[in-house]
Protein backbone atom coordinates (compact mmCIF):
# COMPACT_ATOMS: atom_id res chain seq x y z
CA UNK A 1 0.00 0.00 0.00
CA UNK A 2 2.94 2.27 0.74
CA UNK A 3 4.53 1.43 -2.64
CA UNK A 4 1.29 2.09 -4.44
CA UNK A 5 1.02 5.42 -2.72
CA UNK A 6 4.61 6.27 -3.71
CA UNK A 7 3.90 5.30 -7.34
CA UNK A 8 1.11 7.84 -7.60
CA UNK A 9 3.62 10.64 -7.56
CA UNK A 10 4.52 13.53 -5.35
CA UNK A 11 1.98 15.77 -3.73
CA UNK A 12 -0.66 13.15 -3.07
CA UNK A 13 -0.78 12.49 0.60
CA UNK A 14 -2.19 9.17 1.83
CA UNK A 15 -5.79 9.45 2.92
CA UNK A 16 -6.43 9.28 6.61
CA UNK A 17 -9.50 7.43 7.79
CA UNK A 18 -12.22 9.83 8.93
CA UNK A 19 -12.15 10.49 12.63
CA UNK A 20 -14.93 8.64 14.39
CA UNK A 21 -17.34 10.98 16.13
CA UNK A 22 -16.89 11.00 19.86
CA UNK A 23 -20.12 11.19 21.81
CA UNK A 24 -20.15 14.03 24.33
CA UNK A 25 -19.62 12.68 27.77
CA UNK A 26 -22.41 13.21 30.27
CA UNK A 27 -21.05 14.88 33.41
CA UNK A 28 -20.97 12.74 36.52
CA UNK A 29 -23.39 15.16 38.23
CA UNK A 30 -25.87 16.71 35.71
CA UNK A 31 -26.52 20.38 36.03
CA UNK A 32 -29.39 21.17 38.37
CA UNK A 33 -31.91 22.17 35.71
CA UNK A 34 -31.08 19.12 33.59
CA UNK A 35 -31.65 16.67 36.39
CA UNK A 36 -34.29 14.03 35.62
CA UNK A 37 -34.99 13.79 39.34
CA UNK A 38 -35.80 17.49 39.35
CA UNK A 39 -38.19 17.02 36.44
CA UNK A 40 -40.02 14.25 38.29
CA UNK A 41 -40.15 16.42 41.38
CA UNK A 42 -41.44 19.37 39.35
CA UNK A 43 -44.17 17.23 37.82
CA UNK A 44 -45.11 16.07 41.31
CA UNK A 45 -45.34 19.64 42.60
CA UNK A 46 -47.36 20.65 39.58
CA UNK A 47 -49.85 17.82 39.90
CA UNK A 48 -50.09 18.30 43.65
CA UNK A 49 -50.63 22.03 43.24
CA UNK A 50 -53.20 21.62 40.47
CA UNK A 51 -55.11 19.09 42.55
CA UNK A 52 -55.11 21.41 45.54
CA UNK A 53 -56.19 24.32 43.34
CA UNK A 54 -59.04 22.30 41.88
CA UNK A 55 -60.12 21.31 45.39
CA UNK A 56 -59.94 24.92 46.56
CA UNK A 57 -62.02 26.13 43.63
CA UNK A 58 -64.55 23.41 44.29
CA UNK A 59 -64.74 24.30 48.00
CA UNK A 60 -65.12 27.99 47.20
CA UNK A 61 -67.83 27.22 44.69
CA UNK A 62 -69.68 25.11 47.21
CA UNK A 63 -69.49 27.69 50.01
CA UNK A 64 -69.15 31.30 48.94
CA UNK A 65 -70.58 30.48 45.54
CA UNK A 66 -73.65 28.92 47.12
CA UNK A 67 -74.20 31.98 49.29
CA UNK A 68 -73.95 34.26 46.27
CA UNK A 69 -76.36 32.13 44.28
CA UNK A 70 -78.82 32.03 47.18
CA UNK A 71 -78.76 35.84 47.42
CA UNK A 72 -79.35 36.21 43.70
CA UNK A 73 -82.19 33.73 43.78
CA UNK A 74 -83.85 35.51 46.69
CA UNK A 75 -83.59 38.87 44.91
CA UNK A 76 -84.97 37.40 41.70
CA UNK A 77 -87.89 35.82 43.52
CA UNK A 78 -88.56 39.15 45.24
CA UNK A 79 -88.52 40.99 41.91
CA UNK A 80 -90.89 38.51 40.35
CA UNK A 81 -93.39 38.74 43.17
CA UNK A 82 -93.26 42.56 43.05
CA UNK A 83 -93.83 42.42 39.32
CA UNK A 84 -96.94 40.36 39.94
CA UNK A 85 -98.04 42.88 42.55
CA UNK A 86 -97.56 45.68 40.03
CA UNK A 87 -99.70 43.82 37.53
CA UNK A 88 -102.41 43.27 40.13
CA UNK A 89 -102.44 46.51 42.06
CA UNK A 90 -100.63 48.98 39.87
CA UNK A 91 -98.38 51.66 41.30
CA UNK A 92 -100.32 52.07 44.54
CA UNK A 93 -100.31 48.37 45.26
CA UNK A 94 -96.62 48.15 44.58
CA UNK A 95 -95.86 51.05 46.92
CA UNK A 96 -97.85 49.47 49.75
CA UNK A 97 -96.16 46.13 49.18
CA UNK A 98 -92.71 47.67 49.31
CA UNK A 99 -93.49 49.52 52.53
CA UNK A 100 -94.93 46.38 54.09
CA UNK A 101 -91.93 44.33 53.16
CA UNK A 102 -89.60 46.91 54.63
CA UNK A 103 -91.65 46.96 57.80
CA UNK A 104 -91.57 43.18 58.03
CA UNK A 105 -87.89 42.82 57.12
CA UNK A 106 -86.80 41.23 60.38
CA UNK A 107 -83.48 40.18 58.79
CA UNK A 108 -82.77 43.87 58.16
CA UNK A 109 -81.17 43.17 54.78
CA UNK A 110 -83.74 44.20 52.18
CA UNK A 111 -83.23 47.09 49.83
CA UNK A 112 -85.98 48.54 47.63
CA UNK A 113 -86.20 51.60 45.46
CA UNK A 114 -89.02 52.53 43.13
CA UNK A 115 -88.41 55.57 40.92
CA UNK A 116 -90.50 57.31 38.30
CA UNK A 117 -89.36 57.97 34.75
CA UNK A 118 -87.46 61.01 36.01
CA UNK A 119 -85.62 58.77 38.50
CA UNK A 120 -87.36 60.47 41.41
CA UNK A 121 -87.92 58.30 44.44
CA UNK A 122 -91.43 56.96 44.86
CA UNK A 123 -90.93 54.25 47.50
CA UNK A 124 -88.18 52.22 49.16
CA UNK A 125 -85.34 52.73 51.58
CA UNK A 126 -82.86 54.36 49.21
CA UNK A 127 -82.98 58.14 48.83
CA UNK A 128 -82.23 58.29 45.12
CA UNK A 129 -81.29 56.22 42.14
CA UNK A 130 -77.58 55.31 42.47
CA UNK A 131 -75.59 57.31 39.98
CA UNK A 132 -72.92 54.62 39.87
CA UNK A 133 -75.47 52.15 38.51
CA UNK A 134 -75.76 52.25 34.71
CA UNK A 135 -79.25 51.74 33.35
CA UNK A 136 -78.05 49.06 30.99
CA UNK A 137 -76.87 46.73 33.77
CA UNK A 138 -79.23 44.32 35.47
CA UNK A 139 -77.03 43.26 38.38
CA UNK A 140 -74.61 45.37 40.37
CA UNK A 141 -72.97 45.77 43.72
CA UNK A 142 -73.69 48.97 45.53
CA UNK A 143 -71.95 50.57 48.48
CA UNK A 144 -74.44 51.53 51.18
CA UNK A 145 -74.23 53.16 54.57
CA UNK A 146 -75.90 51.63 57.55
CA UNK A 147 -75.98 53.68 60.74
CA UNK A 148 -72.74 55.36 59.71
CA UNK A 149 -70.96 52.13 58.73
CA UNK A 150 -70.06 51.43 55.12
CA UNK A 151 -71.56 48.20 53.79
CA UNK A 152 -72.17 46.40 50.53
CA UNK A 153 -75.39 45.51 48.74
CA UNK A 154 -76.18 43.42 45.72
CA UNK A 155 -79.00 44.86 43.68
CA UNK A 156 -81.01 44.04 40.62
CA UNK A 157 -82.70 46.55 38.36
CA UNK A 158 -86.13 45.85 36.90
CA UNK A 159 -87.83 48.11 34.37
CA UNK A 160 -91.56 48.55 34.89
CA UNK A 161 -94.06 49.65 32.33
CA UNK A 162 -94.58 53.38 32.14
CA UNK A 163 -90.90 54.17 32.52
CA UNK A 164 -90.75 53.26 36.21
CA UNK A 165 -87.64 51.53 37.51
CA UNK A 166 -87.45 49.14 40.42
CA UNK A 167 -84.30 48.32 42.33
CA UNK A 168 -84.37 45.24 44.59
CA UNK A 169 -81.38 44.09 46.61
CA UNK A 170 -79.92 42.61 49.74
CA UNK A 171 -77.27 43.68 52.18
CA UNK A 172 -74.42 41.20 51.47
CA UNK A 173 -71.74 42.73 53.69
CA UNK A 174 -71.64 39.70 55.98
CA UNK A 175 -71.49 37.39 53.04
CA UNK A 176 -68.80 39.51 51.41
CA UNK A 177 -66.77 39.34 54.61
CA UNK A 178 -67.28 35.60 54.75
CA UNK A 179 -66.26 35.31 51.14
CA UNK A 180 -63.13 37.34 51.75
CA UNK A 181 -62.36 35.24 54.80
CA UNK A 182 -62.83 32.04 52.85
CA UNK A 183 -60.79 33.33 49.92
CA UNK A 184 -57.98 34.36 52.21
CA UNK A 185 -58.03 31.00 53.94
CA UNK A 186 -57.95 29.15 50.63
CA UNK A 187 -55.08 31.26 49.35
CA UNK A 188 -53.12 30.60 52.52
CA UNK A 189 -54.00 26.95 52.16
CA UNK A 190 -52.67 26.99 48.63
CA UNK A 191 -49.47 28.50 49.96
CA UNK A 192 -49.22 25.71 52.53
CA UNK A 193 -49.94 23.22 49.76
CA UNK A 194 -47.15 24.72 47.72
CA UNK A 195 -44.74 24.39 50.61
CA UNK A 196 -45.84 20.81 51.24
CA UNK A 197 -45.60 20.11 47.55
CA UNK A 198 -42.04 21.39 47.45
CA UNK A 199 -41.17 19.30 50.47
CA UNK A 200 -42.72 16.28 48.79
CA UNK A 201 -40.81 17.08 45.63
CA UNK A 202 -37.56 17.07 47.57
CA UNK A 203 -38.46 13.66 48.98
CA UNK A 204 -39.47 12.36 45.56
CA UNK A 205 -36.24 13.64 44.08
CA UNK A 206 -34.27 11.94 46.83
CA UNK A 207 -36.07 8.64 46.33
CA UNK A 208 -35.56 8.82 42.60
CA UNK A 209 -31.88 9.57 42.90
CA UNK A 210 -31.39 6.86 45.52
CA UNK A 211 -33.16 4.32 43.33
CA UNK A 212 -30.93 5.16 40.41
CA UNK A 213 -27.79 5.47 42.48
CA UNK A 214 -27.57 1.69 42.85
CA UNK A 215 -27.85 1.17 39.11
CA UNK A 216 -25.30 3.89 38.39
CA UNK A 217 -22.84 2.58 40.97
CA UNK A 218 -23.13 -0.98 39.66
CA UNK A 219 -22.69 0.15 36.07
CA UNK A 220 -19.64 2.17 37.05
CA UNK A 221 -18.11 -0.82 38.86
CA UNK A 222 -18.72 -3.01 35.83
CA UNK A 223 -17.19 -0.40 33.55
CA UNK A 224 -14.14 -0.48 35.79
CA UNK A 225 -13.85 -4.22 35.14
CA UNK A 226 -15.67 -5.95 38.00
CA UNK A 227 -18.20 -8.12 36.14
CA UNK A 228 -19.33 -9.79 39.36
CA UNK A 229 -21.26 -6.68 40.48
CA UNK A 230 -25.07 -6.82 40.36
CA UNK A 231 -27.73 -4.21 40.99
CA UNK A 232 -29.33 -4.48 44.40
CA UNK A 233 -32.97 -5.58 44.41
CA UNK A 234 -35.07 -4.10 47.18
CA UNK A 235 -37.65 -6.89 47.20
CA UNK A 236 -40.62 -4.54 46.80
CA UNK A 237 -41.36 -5.91 43.34
CA UNK A 238 -41.84 -2.44 41.88
CA UNK A 239 -40.72 -1.01 38.55
CA UNK A 240 -37.22 -0.30 39.84
CA UNK A 241 -36.86 -3.90 40.97
CA UNK A 242 -37.95 -5.10 37.55
CA UNK A 243 -35.43 -2.78 35.96
CA UNK A 244 -32.77 -4.09 38.30
CA UNK A 245 -33.69 -7.69 37.50
CA UNK A 246 -33.53 -7.01 33.78
CA UNK A 247 -30.13 -5.36 34.14
CA UNK A 248 -28.89 -8.25 36.26
CA UNK A 249 -30.09 -10.75 33.66
CA UNK A 250 -28.26 -8.77 31.01
CA UNK A 251 -25.13 -8.75 33.16
CA UNK A 252 -25.43 -12.51 33.72
CA UNK A 253 -25.64 -13.07 30.00
CA UNK A 254 -22.69 -10.78 29.35
CA UNK A 255 -20.78 -12.60 32.05
CA UNK A 256 -21.60 -15.98 30.51
CA UNK A 257 -20.57 -14.74 27.10
CA UNK A 258 -17.34 -13.35 28.52
CA UNK A 259 -16.71 -16.66 30.29
CA UNK A 260 -17.41 -18.46 27.04
CA UNK A 261 -14.92 -16.28 25.23
CA UNK A 262 -12.39 -16.91 27.97
CA UNK A 263 -12.99 -20.64 27.81
CA UNK A 264 -12.62 -20.72 24.09
CA UNK A 265 -9.42 -18.74 24.26
CA UNK A 266 -8.04 -21.09 26.90
CA UNK A 267 -9.21 -24.17 25.03
CA UNK A 268 -7.72 -22.96 21.80
CA UNK A 269 -4.46 -22.31 23.56
CA UNK A 270 -4.35 -25.74 25.16
CA UNK A 271 -6.30 -28.13 22.94
CA UNK A 272 -5.54 -26.89 19.49
CA UNK A 273 -1.88 -26.33 20.07
CA UNK A 274 -1.33 -30.08 20.01
CA UNK A 275 -2.59 -30.83 16.48
CA UNK A 276 -0.95 -27.68 15.13
CA UNK A 277 2.32 -28.64 16.79
CA UNK A 278 1.97 -32.17 15.50
CA UNK A 279 1.39 -30.95 11.96
CA UNK A 280 4.41 -28.69 12.22
CA UNK A 281 6.54 -31.52 13.55
CA UNK A 282 5.53 -33.80 10.71
CA UNK A 283 6.30 -31.17 8.11
CA UNK A 284 9.59 -30.36 9.78
CA UNK A 285 10.47 -34.02 10.02
CA UNK A 286 9.55 -34.53 6.39
CA UNK A 287 11.65 -31.56 5.36
CA UNK A 288 14.67 -32.93 7.20
CA UNK A 289 14.32 -36.65 6.68
CA UNK A 290 12.06 -37.49 3.72
CA UNK A 291 14.07 -39.36 1.13
CA UNK A 292 11.48 -39.78 -1.58
CA UNK A 293 8.66 -37.77 -3.06
CA UNK A 294 6.26 -40.41 -1.75
CA UNK A 295 7.47 -39.93 1.81
CA UNK A 296 7.15 -36.18 1.42
CA UNK A 297 3.62 -36.42 0.03
CA UNK A 298 2.58 -38.75 2.82
CA UNK A 299 3.92 -36.35 5.47
CA UNK A 300 2.15 -33.43 3.79
CA UNK A 301 -1.13 -35.36 3.67
CA UNK A 302 -0.90 -36.28 7.36
CA UNK A 303 -0.16 -32.65 8.27
CA UNK A 304 -3.04 -31.54 6.06
CA UNK A 305 -5.35 -33.94 7.89
CA UNK A 306 -4.21 -32.53 11.23
CA UNK A 307 -4.81 -29.00 10.04
CA UNK A 308 -8.20 -29.98 8.61
CA UNK A 309 -9.12 -31.18 12.08
CA UNK A 310 -8.06 -27.82 13.51
CA UNK A 311 -10.12 -25.98 10.87
CA UNK A 312 -13.13 -28.15 11.69
CA UNK A 313 -12.80 -27.28 15.36
CA UNK A 314 -12.61 -23.58 14.58
CA UNK A 315 -15.65 -23.88 12.36
CA UNK A 316 -17.54 -25.61 15.11
CA UNK A 317 -16.49 -22.93 17.61
CA UNK A 318 -17.59 -20.17 15.29
CA UNK A 319 -20.89 -21.89 14.69
CA UNK A 320 -21.48 -22.26 18.40
CA UNK A 321 -20.62 -18.59 18.92
CA UNK A 322 -22.97 -17.61 16.12
CA UNK A 323 -25.77 -19.65 17.64
CA UNK A 324 -25.19 -18.27 21.15
CA UNK A 325 -25.23 -14.73 19.80
CA UNK A 326 -28.70 -15.39 18.43
CA UNK A 327 -27.67 -14.49 14.90
CA UNK A 328 -29.54 -17.50 13.53
CA UNK A 329 -33.02 -16.47 14.70
CA UNK A 330 -33.81 -15.08 11.27
CA UNK A 331 -33.57 -18.65 9.87
CA UNK A 332 -36.54 -19.82 11.95
CA UNK A 333 -39.41 -21.20 9.89
CA UNK A 334 -42.30 -23.62 10.38
CA UNK A 335 -41.57 -27.20 9.36
CA UNK A 336 -42.46 -30.79 10.23
CA UNK A 337 -39.91 -32.55 12.43
CA UNK A 338 -41.14 -36.10 11.73
CA UNK A 339 -39.64 -36.40 8.24
CA UNK A 340 -36.38 -34.89 9.51
CA UNK A 341 -36.13 -37.60 12.18
CA UNK A 342 -36.91 -40.30 9.65
CA UNK A 343 -34.20 -38.96 7.33
CA UNK A 344 -31.64 -38.97 10.14
CA UNK A 345 -32.50 -42.53 11.06
CA UNK A 346 -32.10 -43.53 7.43
CA UNK A 347 -28.77 -41.72 7.29
CA UNK A 348 -27.38 -43.40 10.40
CA UNK A 349 -28.91 -46.84 9.78
CA UNK A 350 -25.92 -47.96 7.79
CA UNK A 351 -23.47 -46.90 10.51
CA UNK A 352 -25.62 -48.53 13.15
CA UNK A 353 -25.88 -51.75 11.17
CA UNK A 354 -22.16 -51.75 10.63
CA UNK A 355 -21.59 -51.59 14.37
CA UNK A 356 -24.31 -54.08 15.20
CA UNK A 357 -26.44 -51.49 16.93
CA UNK A 358 -30.23 -51.34 16.72
CA UNK A 359 -31.46 -47.85 15.84
CA UNK A 360 -35.14 -47.24 16.65
CA UNK A 361 -37.42 -44.28 16.01
CA UNK A 362 -40.54 -43.31 17.97
CA UNK A 363 -42.20 -40.23 16.58
CA UNK A 364 -45.73 -38.96 15.87
CA UNK A 365 -46.76 -38.78 12.25
CA UNK A 366 -46.50 -35.01 12.37
CA UNK A 367 -44.73 -32.68 14.73
CA UNK A 368 -44.88 -29.05 13.71
CA UNK A 369 -42.10 -26.81 14.87
CA UNK A 370 -41.08 -23.21 14.33
CA UNK A 371 -37.31 -23.50 14.41
CA UNK A 372 -34.07 -23.57 12.42
CA UNK A 373 -34.26 -26.88 10.53
CA UNK A 374 -30.58 -27.02 9.70
CA UNK A 375 -29.45 -26.38 13.26
CA UNK A 376 -31.86 -28.95 14.67
CA UNK A 377 -30.67 -31.47 12.14
CA UNK A 378 -27.07 -30.87 13.19
CA UNK A 379 -27.91 -31.03 16.89
CA UNK A 380 -29.83 -34.31 16.60
CA UNK A 381 -27.08 -35.69 14.36
CA UNK A 382 -24.52 -34.86 17.06
CA UNK A 383 -26.58 -36.74 19.65
CA UNK A 384 -26.98 -39.75 17.36
CA UNK A 385 -23.29 -39.61 16.57
CA UNK A 386 -22.38 -39.72 20.25
CA UNK A 387 -24.91 -42.46 21.00
CA UNK A 388 -23.65 -44.70 18.20
CA UNK A 389 -20.03 -43.95 19.10
CA UNK A 390 -20.45 -45.02 22.70
CA UNK A 391 -22.97 -47.88 22.31
CA UNK A 392 -21.58 -51.42 22.48
CA UNK A 393 -22.39 -53.95 19.73
CA UNK A 394 -25.84 -55.43 20.22
CA UNK A 395 -27.01 -52.27 21.95
CA UNK A 396 -30.04 -50.17 21.17
CA UNK A 397 -30.14 -46.46 20.34
CA UNK A 398 -33.62 -45.00 20.56
CA UNK A 399 -34.55 -41.69 18.89
CA UNK A 400 -37.93 -40.37 20.04
CA UNK A 401 -39.91 -37.16 19.86
CA UNK A 402 -43.03 -35.94 21.64
CA UNK A 403 -44.76 -32.73 22.67
CA UNK A 404 -45.49 -32.18 26.34
CA UNK A 405 -47.06 -28.97 27.69
CA UNK A 406 -46.20 -27.05 24.57
CA UNK A 407 -42.55 -28.08 24.58
CA UNK A 408 -41.06 -30.43 21.98
CA UNK A 409 -38.83 -33.09 23.56
CA UNK A 410 -36.40 -34.92 21.26
CA UNK A 411 -34.48 -37.63 23.07
CA UNK A 412 -31.64 -39.94 22.09
CA UNK A 413 -31.08 -42.83 24.51
CA UNK A 414 -28.27 -45.35 24.37
CA UNK A 415 -27.01 -48.26 26.47
CA UNK A 416 -23.40 -47.24 26.54
CA UNK A 417 -21.25 -46.27 29.54
CA UNK A 418 -23.18 -43.06 30.04
CA UNK A 419 -21.82 -39.96 31.76
CA UNK A 420 -21.20 -40.01 35.51
CA UNK A 421 -23.52 -37.69 37.38
CA UNK A 422 -20.54 -35.64 38.54
CA UNK A 423 -19.61 -34.89 34.92
CA UNK A 424 -23.09 -34.32 33.48
CA UNK A 425 -23.18 -30.66 34.55
CA UNK A 426 -19.98 -29.99 32.59
CA UNK A 427 -20.63 -32.32 29.67
CA UNK A 428 -21.95 -29.49 27.49
CA UNK A 429 -18.94 -27.25 28.10
CA UNK A 430 -16.67 -26.60 25.17
CA UNK A 431 -13.79 -29.09 24.83
CA UNK A 432 -14.98 -31.11 27.84
CA UNK A 433 -14.26 -34.81 27.46
CA UNK A 434 -15.24 -37.39 30.03
CA UNK A 435 -13.15 -40.34 31.07
CA UNK A 436 -15.02 -42.68 28.73
CA UNK A 437 -14.33 -40.43 25.77
CA UNK A 438 -10.60 -40.10 26.24
CA UNK A 439 -9.85 -42.73 23.63
CA UNK A 440 -12.49 -41.85 21.10
CA UNK A 441 -12.01 -39.25 18.35
CA UNK A 442 -13.60 -35.85 18.86
CA UNK A 443 -12.92 -32.34 20.09
CA UNK A 444 -15.51 -32.15 22.86
CA UNK A 445 -17.74 -29.63 21.04
CA UNK A 446 -20.72 -31.80 20.07
CA UNK A 447 -22.82 -31.35 23.21
CA UNK A 448 -21.79 -27.68 23.43
CA UNK A 449 -23.34 -27.12 20.02
CA UNK A 450 -26.47 -29.07 20.98
CA UNK A 451 -26.89 -26.94 24.10
CA UNK A 452 -26.40 -23.74 22.12
CA UNK A 453 -29.08 -24.86 19.65
CA UNK A 454 -31.45 -25.70 22.53
CA UNK A 455 -30.95 -22.29 24.16
CA UNK A 456 -31.44 -20.50 20.85
CA UNK A 457 -34.82 -22.20 20.58
CA UNK A 458 -35.82 -21.21 24.11
CA UNK A 459 -35.19 -24.67 25.49
CA UNK A 460 -32.53 -26.77 27.15
CA UNK A 461 -30.41 -29.91 26.89
CA UNK A 462 -31.03 -32.39 29.69
CA UNK A 463 -28.66 -35.34 30.24
CA UNK A 464 -30.04 -38.18 32.33
CA UNK A 465 -29.09 -41.68 33.31
CA UNK A 466 -30.72 -44.23 31.00
CA UNK A 467 -29.95 -47.07 33.44
CA UNK A 468 -27.68 -48.03 31.88
CA UNK A 469 -26.42 -45.54 29.37
CA UNK A 470 -27.23 -41.94 28.63
CA UNK A 471 -30.49 -40.27 27.69
CA UNK A 472 -30.02 -36.86 26.09
CA UNK A 473 -33.24 -34.84 25.81
CA UNK A 474 -33.38 -31.75 23.65
CA UNK A 475 -36.32 -29.58 24.81
CA UNK A 476 -37.57 -26.84 22.50
CA UNK A 477 -40.17 -24.18 23.16
CA UNK A 478 -40.94 -23.66 19.51
CA UNK A 479 -44.05 -25.68 18.75
CA UNK A 480 -45.95 -24.02 15.96
CA UNK A 481 -49.50 -25.33 15.99
CA UNK A 482 -52.05 -25.86 18.75
CA UNK A 483 -52.56 -29.50 17.90
CA UNK A 484 -48.85 -30.08 18.44
CA UNK A 485 -49.21 -29.04 22.06
CA UNK A 486 -50.74 -30.92 24.92
CA UNK A 487 -50.52 -34.66 25.54
CA UNK A 488 -48.37 -36.74 23.20
CA UNK A 489 -50.26 -38.55 20.44
CA UNK A 490 -50.45 -42.32 20.29
CA UNK A 491 -47.71 -43.92 18.24
CA UNK A 492 -49.17 -44.87 14.87
CA UNK A 493 -48.35 -48.22 13.35
CA UNK A 494 -45.21 -48.32 11.22
CA UNK A 495 -43.63 -45.32 12.88
CA UNK A 496 -40.89 -47.45 14.48
CA UNK A 497 -37.76 -48.05 12.49
CA UNK A 498 -35.29 -50.69 13.45
CA UNK A 499 -31.99 -51.54 11.91
CA UNK A 500 -31.29 -55.26 12.24
CA UNK A 501 -28.39 -56.17 14.46
CA UNK A 502 -25.35 -57.68 12.78
CA UNK A 503 -25.41 -60.80 14.95
CA UNK A 504 -28.84 -62.33 15.09
Amino acid sequence: MVARAAGLGAGIAPRRPPASPVAPRVPAHPRFLHSAALRFAAVYVLLFGLSALALAIFLWWQTAGVLDRETDNAITADVQSLAVRWNQGGLAGLIITIENRLAENVDDNAIYLLVDPRLQRVAGNLAAWPTSLPLDRTWAELPIERAGIRSLARVRRYNLPGGFHLLVGRDVQVRAELRDLLTGALLWALLVVLVLGLAGAVVIRGLFRRALADVSATAAAISAGDLSQRVRISGRGDEFDRLSETINEMLERISRLMDGVREVSNAIAHDLRTPITRARSRLEDAALHARTETDLRAAIERATADLDGVVAVFQALLRIAEIEAGARRSAFAPFDLAPLLADLVDLYSAVAEERGISLKLQSPERLALFADRELLQQAIANLLDNALKFSPPGGVVRLSAEVVSGMAAISVADRGPGIPSADRARAAERFFRGEAARHTPGAGLGLALVQAVAQLHGGSLVLADNLPGLKAVLRLACTAEPEARGEPKAMPKGAQHEAPAADT
Binding site: A103, N105, D108, R137, R179
Partner: protein, 107 residues
Protein backbone atom coordinates in the same frame (compact mmCIF):
# COMPACT_ATOMS: atom_id res chain seq x y z
CA UNK B 1 -38.41 18.85 30.16
CA UNK B 2 -40.30 20.76 27.49
CA UNK B 3 -43.46 18.81 28.30
CA UNK B 4 -43.18 19.72 31.97
CA UNK B 5 -42.57 23.38 31.09
CA UNK B 6 -45.62 23.48 28.86
CA UNK B 7 -47.75 21.87 31.51
CA UNK B 8 -46.42 24.34 34.04
CA UNK B 9 -47.22 27.27 31.79
CA UNK B 10 -50.75 26.03 31.18
CA UNK B 11 -51.25 25.54 34.88
CA UNK B 12 -50.08 29.05 35.70
CA UNK B 13 -52.36 30.44 33.02
CA UNK B 14 -55.30 28.43 34.28
CA UNK B 15 -54.65 29.54 37.83
CA UNK B 16 -54.43 33.15 36.72
CA UNK B 17 -57.75 32.78 34.95
CA UNK B 18 -59.65 30.64 37.41
CA UNK B 19 -58.69 32.20 40.70
CA UNK B 20 -60.11 35.62 39.80
CA UNK B 21 -63.21 34.00 38.32
CA UNK B 22 -63.59 31.72 41.27
CA UNK B 23 -63.53 34.47 43.81
CA UNK B 24 -65.67 36.69 41.65
CA UNK B 25 -63.18 39.47 41.21
CA UNK B 26 -64.91 41.32 38.44
CA UNK B 27 -63.58 44.77 37.62
CA UNK B 28 -67.05 46.04 36.80
CA UNK B 29 -68.70 44.65 39.92
CA UNK B 30 -65.99 45.79 42.29
CA UNK B 31 -66.98 48.89 44.20
CA UNK B 32 -64.05 51.14 44.80
CA UNK B 33 -63.84 53.03 48.06
CA UNK B 34 -64.29 56.39 46.33
CA UNK B 35 -67.90 55.67 45.26
CA UNK B 36 -70.07 57.37 47.90
CA UNK B 37 -72.17 54.99 49.95
CA UNK B 38 -75.91 55.53 49.86
CA UNK B 39 -77.53 55.65 53.31
CA UNK B 40 -80.55 53.46 53.91
CA UNK B 41 -83.62 55.35 54.98
CA UNK B 42 -84.68 52.45 57.15
CA UNK B 43 -81.68 52.86 59.48
CA UNK B 44 -82.72 56.27 60.83
CA UNK B 45 -84.50 57.45 63.98
CA UNK B 46 -87.28 58.77 61.72
CA UNK B 47 -87.98 55.27 60.54
CA UNK B 48 -88.03 54.15 64.16
CA UNK B 49 -90.84 56.61 64.75
CA UNK B 50 -92.69 55.47 61.63
CA UNK B 51 -92.50 51.85 62.68
CA UNK B 52 -93.56 52.68 66.20
CA UNK B 53 -96.60 54.54 64.86
CA UNK B 54 -97.44 51.61 62.59
CA UNK B 55 -97.20 49.20 65.52
CA UNK B 56 -99.54 51.42 67.49
CA UNK B 57 -102.05 51.68 64.63
CA UNK B 58 -102.00 47.94 64.00
CA UNK B 59 -102.40 47.20 67.69
CA UNK B 60 -105.41 49.44 68.01
CA UNK B 61 -106.94 47.92 64.87
CA UNK B 62 -107.01 44.52 66.49
CA UNK B 63 -110.30 43.17 67.73
CA UNK B 64 -108.75 41.51 70.73
CA UNK B 65 -105.84 42.75 72.81
CA UNK B 66 -102.42 42.14 71.37
CA UNK B 67 -100.26 39.48 72.97
CA UNK B 68 -97.90 40.71 75.70
CA UNK B 69 -94.84 39.98 73.59
CA UNK B 70 -95.99 42.52 71.03
CA UNK B 71 -96.14 45.16 73.76
CA UNK B 72 -92.77 44.03 75.04
CA UNK B 73 -91.14 44.15 71.61
CA UNK B 74 -92.62 47.54 70.86
CA UNK B 75 -91.49 48.95 74.21
CA UNK B 76 -87.99 47.58 73.75
CA UNK B 77 -87.83 48.93 70.26
CA UNK B 78 -88.80 52.44 71.31
CA UNK B 79 -86.37 52.38 74.20
CA UNK B 80 -83.47 51.28 72.01
CA UNK B 81 -84.26 53.87 69.42
CA UNK B 82 -84.33 56.50 72.16
CA UNK B 83 -80.97 55.35 73.39
CA UNK B 84 -79.51 55.67 69.88
CA UNK B 85 -79.44 51.91 69.11
CA UNK B 86 -81.45 52.52 65.97
CA UNK B 87 -80.95 49.22 64.16
CA UNK B 88 -81.63 47.18 67.26
CA UNK B 89 -84.78 49.15 67.98
CA UNK B 90 -86.00 48.88 64.39
CA UNK B 91 -85.40 45.10 64.48
CA UNK B 92 -87.69 44.71 67.54
CA UNK B 93 -90.33 46.97 66.10
CA UNK B 94 -90.27 44.93 62.89
CA UNK B 95 -90.81 41.75 64.85
CA UNK B 96 -93.75 43.37 66.55
CA UNK B 97 -95.14 44.38 63.14
CA UNK B 98 -94.75 40.81 61.85
CA UNK B 99 -96.61 39.43 64.87
CA UNK B 100 -99.41 41.94 64.47
CA UNK B 101 -99.72 41.21 60.75
CA UNK B 102 -99.87 37.49 61.48
CA UNK B 103 -102.62 38.07 64.03
CA UNK B 104 -104.57 40.26 61.69
CA UNK B 105 -103.92 38.06 58.66
CA UNK B 106 -102.29 40.75 56.63
CA UNK B 107 -98.93 39.06 56.10
Amino acid sequence: MWGAQRIGGLAVGAATLFIPLAIGIDSQAQTPAQIPAMPLLTDTPQYCVELSNEVEEDRQALVSPAPPEVEQLAEEGRRLCALGEVRGGIARLRRAVVLLHEISGRS
